[in-house]
């Protein structure tokens, strides 16, 4: 990454950060940002899947905790999913090659 490109990305980075902070009050400690309809639908679907797979193991209290944790995860995913990335930004995962040792 060139210095110029890096500067451009850092500017995007700051803008993305600001955009993420504006929609709700979660970041300033006044309570969690509400989920929008699509996010809530995703949480509902995930909750249904957890109950389908493991419902027979979960008490009412645990089911309510599952829903609460799913909501928290969704807020984290929002911030990561909306983070500005370019097509070529590669993940911090990679195949390690084992060169032949003759």
């Amino acid at each position: 990454m060139s210095r110029r490109d890096f500067g451009r990305r850092v500017a995007l980075f700051a803008a993305a950060g600001a955009a993420q902070r504006n929609p709700g009050a979660a970041q300033d400690g006044r309570g969690p940002t509400p989920l929008d309809a699509a996010e809530q639908a995703e949480v509902d679907a995930k909750y249904a899947n957890v109950i389908r797979k493991y419902g027979d193991r979960l008490s009412d209290e645990q089911r309510s905790r599952v829903r609460e944790v799913l909501g928290r995860h969704q807020r984290m995913l929002r911030r990561v999913r909306t983070f500005a990335l370019d097509n070529s930004d590669s993940p911090a995962t990679g195949l390690r090659l084992y060169p032949r040792k003759d």
Partner: protein, 482 residues
């Protein structure tokens, strides 16, 4: 038996006496064992004492040194290992009820390295169940009960290397091995007033250690001083083909010379904690001033904006859901002590591969952004934790907010620094960090400062902490009589 003054000596001094044969490894091991038996249970410090092994290793060290075969700085030096590293034939419980009977028939690589160095294993240190891998609410989430802080037994040691912190602070061993995925060495280091180090990712092999998150787990020392951390790291670092993420030969090794770096450039982080006790801020200021007097250049700096905390937490949650998949699917997570741990695995299985890849792409970007800071600074510095040790809550079994015990209450103000918590930043980016004590609260609980360095520049972090310890003596303070 040797006296408490000896038991609190740093490794360098113990090693020097052992080498000169003015201190017997057998007598030293027996003294730590006696103290561990007497005080360990009060603090829930150990999961298991390996007395028989310790005496056998101490006897062998004594014999070898007497014969003129001195192996190096850890020869004859006792230690404890967090109960997530495999020690052949002894229980390795991972601090969790589902694994209470678990034993391995091999040693973790780090234990093998320490065996080769002639170190003496006193026992397995207590820990938070699964090192917090499936989440936990407070210090009660441990198979062996909450580790109690030697500075105030009503307080917790922090986690997840909870027993390791208690052991070192209480003088039950001169050092203990901890593990750190996101703060599990740094927080107990700070709350217990010891010196602890999270090495660069990939420097110390994790083969034979429990996995939480392959891309974030590190093993590292908790000891009496930064200098001791350097000595220990020089022994336990190195390439291991059995650990997929082990750095290659030539990079993994750590050679420690204990030299001073001239004119360390230190960036004081001003945007990483939401709220710090003003007295703690003063302690950090005074530490940096002491370093400045000693020739360091200090200036303020900031971590760039970005979802560091979210990326770190999501990485851990998703990788842990895979690492503990068998336990989650079998339902044995129901045996975990913490109500959050009992259900978190089910929830984390709902993340998608696409989300994981997105997190890892964001991670690369954040890593580069933070790395730029080290063009201007050798190390960046901040408080080791936002608070001093907190009181243990009553053992009700009720779930509280995940890792709430380590989070400062959010201030009713902007900007919010939650995303830039130093442990999240440095762990996400695989950076080395060291924490050392830097003062005490009016309640006589330790304050800590941490120094974070560029990846693979572990030496810079140690040098900064060591420079501070050359001009202060916070690291020499001992808890009141236990």
């Amino acid at each position: 038996m040797v006296g408490e003054d000896i038991l609190y000596l740093p490794i360098r001094e113990l090693g020097s006496r052992i080498r000169k044969r003015t201190l017997s490894p057998m007598e030293l091991a027996e003294s730590y064992i006696e103290r561990s038996r007497r005080l360990g249970p009060k603090l829930n410090a150990y999961a298991t004492l390996t007395t028989e092994l310790a005496l056998e290793q101490a006897r062998a060290a004594e014999k070898e040194i007497a014969a003129g075969r001195y192996r190096g700085p850890l020869h004859g030096i006792p230690y404890a290992a967090k109960d997530l590293v495999a020690v052949k034939g002894y229980p390795t419980t991972w601090g969790a009820p589902p694994f209470a009977e678990q034993k391995f028939d091999y040693n973790a690589t780090v234990v093998e390295k320490l065996n080769r160095a002639g170190a003496v294993l006193l026992g397995k240190a207590a820990m938070i169940e699964l090192a917090g891998g499936l989440g936990y609410s407070n210090g009660h989430a441990s198979l062996t009960g909450p580790s109690r802080n030697p500075w105030n037994a009503e307080c917790w040691t922090c986690g997840s290397s909870s027993g390791s912190g208690a052991i070192v602070a209480a003088g039950l061993a001169p050092w203990a091995l901890g593990s750190d995925t996101r703060g599990s060495i740094m927080c107990p280091t700070t709350w217990c007033g010891v010196s602890g180090m999270r090495p660069s990712f990939g420097r110390v092999s994790r083969h034979g250690a429990m996995t939480i998150a392959w891309s974030m787990d590190k093993l590292g020392p908790m000891a009496r001083s930064a200098d001791d951390c350097g000595l220990i790291l020089s022994v336990i670092a190195g390439h291991d083909p059995k650990d997929h993420d082990s750095l290659p030969s030539g990079l993994a090794e750590f050679s420690y010379a204990a030299g001073n770096r001239k004119r360390l450039r230190i960036g004081r982080l001003t945007n990483v904690w939401n709220e710090l006790d003003p007295a703690m801020e003063t302690a950090i200021d005074q530490s940096l001033k002491a370093l400045e007097k000693n020739g360091a250049q200090i200036s303020d700096t900031q971590i760039p904006d970005g979802p560091f905390q979210d990326a770190a937490e999501l990485t851990i949650l998703i990788e842990a859901a895979s690492a503990f998949q068998q336990m989650i699917q079998s339902g044995s997570c129901a045996k975990l002590k913490d109500p959050l741990g009992q259900i978190n695995g089910y929830v984390s299985q709902e993340f998608t591969a696409s989300d994981y890849i997105q997190v890892q792409r964001v991670r690369t970007f954040l890593q580069r952004a933070v790395d730029k800071l080290f063009d201007r600074f050798d190390v960046i510095a901040a408080a080791g934790s936002s608070t001093t040790a907190r009181r243990l809550p009553p053992a009700t079994g009720a779930a509280t907010r995940p890792t709430a015990a380590r989070q400062a209450p959010l201030a009713e103000r902007r900007p919010d620094n939650t995303q830039r918590a130093p442990d999240a930043v440095s762990s996400l980016c695989g950076l080395p960090a060291i924490g050392v004590p830097c003062g005490f609260s009016k309640d006589n609980l330790p304050y800590g400062i941490q120094f974070i360095a560029r990846a693979l520049d572990d030496e810079a972090a140690i040098a900064a902490a060591r420079s501070l310890q050359l001009v202060t003596d916070w690291h020499k303070k001992r808890p009141p009589a236990l």
